[in-house]
């Protein structure tokens, strides 16, 4: 197998839960050497979150942890102790990139904030991914994915019914968004170190990234100029129709037929009912004005068909309608199997474990290692011994003191 695209880049991760670990996994997926630093004893909090096989909690069996940490080396180290901090500085001193999601305050308290780290390694790129960022009035607020997501206005604007609560997407959407943002901006900072004269801190706020790029992009210019803004409607696209999720016989489909060719294609698939030929329904905006009439008529038809039949026949007719795949359907779809998207890693306790593979293909430089996520402290001997030159007795002493 050719070397990964990011071979030669050395990454240290001080991450918990989703955002920093996923960012570091992206580096690992493409061949960077990633060392994950975890708290002695309990490790990354994701280890306690599950999902666990049979819902039986076990520190080495969290599905979330397995997914987010494949391809990494794992060590345990407590940078809050003096000796632990010294070892951490030594580790970071030899790294290109540090990826972390600790609170800015806890970094300062432990003396491992960017200023302290840059003093030992001016070439370090420190990717900090937190709900609110390193500066600003909320920088020291406590926050999780849910808090960051809803501070972005994404829920208020785009997700939920008008008379009900704004919604998150049913996953850690803000953490993932922050992770990919940190990966792109951080890798650029890493590649550009020669020309900009050294490393730097890349400060990502998950809330801000979504507020800016997803919500702000199409809304803020208009609001700033005209003082008007929109809120969620519960309908996929309120200005055109049909464009929303509708129920069918065995689930749901994303119903989309906006352009004239699409509308006519849908009509053909539906057997050319007379109402679809009415003049008043020939334009997507007019159809949206009459959505109370349109959607029940469409549903009458979809409720007699399966989502796969609807998708297949509409796609054949050039209409961009898709089934709403549930998780099992997405995971088992032949398309993803044909592309080898889901990969298997070998885990000492879980056996052969399917996980989602890398998010994109770099044909000239794949380089996925196939390594399962590390057991807690699995690579202590290798990293502290080989890389940092600690003897076996020194390691034993530090282990006894709870430093590693």
């Amino acid at each position: 197998m050719p070397e990964g695209a990011l071979a030669g880049i050395s990454v240290v991760e001080l991450g918990e839960m989703v955002s920093a670990p996923y960012c570091a996994r992206l580096f690992a997926d493409y061949g960077a050497d990633v060392i994950k630093v975890e708290r002695p004893g309990t490790g990354d909090r994701a280890r306690a979150w599950g999902p666990f096989p049979g819902d039986d909690p076990h520190i080495e069996k969290s599905g979330l942890y397995q997914y987010l940490n494949t391809g990494k080396h794992g060590i345990t180290l407590d940078p809050a102790t003096a000796r632990g901090r010294a070892l951490f500085l030594e580790l970071v001193g030899g790294a290109d990139v540090l990826i972390e999601n600790a609170s800015p305050r806890s970094l300062r308290e432990r003396g491992i904030d960017y200023a302290s780290l840059a003093a030992v390694n001016p070439r370090l790129v420190m990717i900090s991914i937190t709900p609110f960022g390193q500066t600003g009035p909320y920088a020291d607020w406590k926050g999780y994915d849910l808090n960051a997501f809803h501070l972005s206005a994404a829920g208020s604007r785009y997700c939920g019914r008008p008379d009900q609560a704004p919604l998150e997407h049913g996953t850690f959407a803000a953490d993932f968004f922050g992770a990919v943002t940190g990966a792109a901006w951080g890798l650029a900072a890493c590649l550009g170190r020669e020309q900009v004269g050294g490393g730097q801190q890349v400060d990502v706020s998950c809330a801000e990234a979504i507020a800016a790029v997803f919500v702000g992009g199409q809304n803020i210019g208009g609001y700033a100029q005209d003082g008007k803004f929109e809120r969620r409607t519960g309908v996929g696209m309120p200005l055109g129709a049909p464009a929303t999720i509708v129920p069918c016989k065995d689930g749901h489909v994303w119903m989309l037929a906006l352009e004239p060719g699409q509308w006519n294609g849908l009509a053909r698939v539906m057997g050319n009912p007379e109402w679809m030929e009415l003049e008043m329904f020939q334009d997507m905006f007019a159809r949206a004005q009459n959505s109370d009439a349109i959607y029940p008529l469409i549903e009458e038809w979809t409720m007699t068909r399966s989502k796969w039949e609807i998708m297949e026949r509409c796609q054949e007719a050039g209409v961009p309608i898709t089934a709403v795949f549930d998780v099992a359907e997405a995971a088992g779809h032949p398309h993803l199997a044909a592309r080898g998207y889901i990969v298997e890693v070998q885990h000492p306790l879980l056996g052969a474990l399917p996980v989602l593979g890398p998010p994109f293909r770099l044909p000239a430089s794949t380089g996925r290692t196939g390594m399962a996520a590390p057991l807690l402290g699995q690579h202590n001997a290798r990293v502290f011994g080989e890389r940092l030159g600690l003897s076996e007795s020194q390691r034993a002493e530090l282990t006894a003191k709870g430093v590693i």
């Binding site: 030669g8 809803h150 800016a212």
Partner: protein, 407 residues
């Protein structure tokens, strides 16, 4: 310019991307210093340039306020790719570019005469970044979707909605900016590879697969337990938190998000509420019992939150060590003190003479703050690219403009 080098200076990108995802790939690289030219045409104006509202209400493809923030950073050259001379000029620009971006369906670049092999013929180490909906091969490669419906093929839509109810559609393409930013990472990884080996490559970026990564937690539950998750409202995706949700506050459509994962946070919440009797009842005494009685807990909590102002309550809960934040709407974004302090949104003067508000450097790089320019007027960089970069004579340039090749 901010007077110092940016990390990606010297990298040139030809961006055939359109609508949203492709332009954001270019934007991300441009904010970091790359020189990015979006190739577009007046022969088929990008739909997003035609969307209202327009600057000062003047309808024009260079004045769409919803387009400008999304495309900012990209330059713009106009080429009619239906004409052979337009394709030839595009290839000349590619020959001088490090990377090429496109977000058409599979095969479209080939039909245009701009497939990977054609690009390689003029630029052997080119990086071609293709981001079709479901990748360059496989049974669904020609699937038709919109950005906002692509999520339906990943399982993500099946998780979004009120608990126990049907899926609720997200009303815009979360996938597009997500893939735009992650796509920039893909190109940067390929650039690193090229730096080490001298070799370019054709990146196969399936938007479906990239977005499905967000479904990973639910995928693992299916893998390990064969459990298929459904819409879960604002609950914790792994059921690890109680309370965990969005609760009503005083005022119209005002809400607060509250997430309690640790015992210390629960104690803080109880304290902030003034230690009501119900909170110490058996049903809520332990994390396990709170998870079991989550509906009742959320009901109790709502009764309390709805009497309070969202911002005041968030600040108060934070003082008690509880993760809480106001749920903002679009208008709030512009005046929220946090975003104001971080200069998330900035007012810029457009070269066409109007002011507009766009997002600025939404990531703060300590050494090299991002370079943010207003969205490009259509054809903004024609003179520079065709005259200076490609070396066309004034006469030839005028001729190509006259024959609507540069158009």
């Amino acid at each position: 310019m901010n007077g110092r080098a940016l990390p990606l200076e010297g990298i040139r990108v030809a961006n055939f991307g359109w609508v949203w995802a492709g332009p954001v790939v270019g934007q991300t690289l441009a904010f970091l210093g790359a020189e990015v030219y979006k190739i577009e045409s007046r022969a088929r104006i990008d739909m997003t340039r035609t969307l209202p509202p327009f600057a000062e209400g003047v309808r024009d493809p260079s004045r769409s306020l919803s387009n400008h923030a999304c495309w900012a950073g990209n330059g713009s050259v106009t080429l009619n790719l239906k004409k052979p001379e337009g394709v030839r000029l595009a290839l000349e620009l590619v020959a001088k570019s490090d990377a090429v971006i496109e977000n058409f369906g599979p095969g479209v670049m080939e039909q245009l005469g701009l497939g990977y092999e054609s690009l390689r013929a003029v630029r052997p180490d080119v990086i071609l970044f293709s981001m079709p909906a479901a990748g360059l091969d496989g049974p669904l490669k020609d699937i038709r979707t919109y950005g906002l419906s692509l999520t339906s093929t990943t399982g993500l839509d099946s998780l979004t909605g009120y608990l126990g109810g049907p899926p609720v559609p997200v009303e815009n393409a979360f996938s597009d900016p997500y893939n735009g930013i992650l796509g920039a990472f893909a190109i940067l990884a390929a650039l690193h590879h090229r730096r080490r080996t001298g070799a370019g490559q054709h990146i196969d970026y399936s938007q479906q697969e990239a977005v499905m990564q967000m479904v990973g937690p639910a995928f693992m539950d299916w893998t390990l337990n064969r459990r298929v998750a459904g819409p879960m409202g604002n609950r914790h995706p792994l059921g690890a938190a109680a309370p965990h949700g969005v609760f009503p506050c005083a005022g119209e459509d005002r809400w607060i998000s509250i997430a309690v994962l640790e015992e210390s946070e629960w104690r803080g919440l109880v304290e902030a509420m003034g230690a009501p009797d119900w909170a110490s009842a058996a049903g809520f005494a332990s994390h396990a019992s709170r998870l079991e009685n989550l509906d009742a807990l959320h009901e109790r909590l709502s009764e309390w939150t709805r009497r309070h102002d969202d911002r005041e309550l968030a600040a108060r809960l934070q003082r008690h060590g509880v993760a809480a934040a106001p749920v903002l709407n679009v208008a709030d974004l512009l005046r929220d003190p946090h975003y104001v302090a971080r200069k998330t949104f900035i007012e810029v003067r457009h070269p066409l003479g109007f002011s507009e508000t766009i997002y600025g450097a939404y990531v703060k790089n300590s050494r090299t703050p991002a370079l943010v320019e207003p969205g490009p007027a259509i054809g903004r960089d024609n003179e520079h690219v065709f005259r200076e970069l490609l070396g066309l004579s004034e006469a030839r340039y005028r001729e190509l403009v006259g024959t609507q090749v540069i158009y």
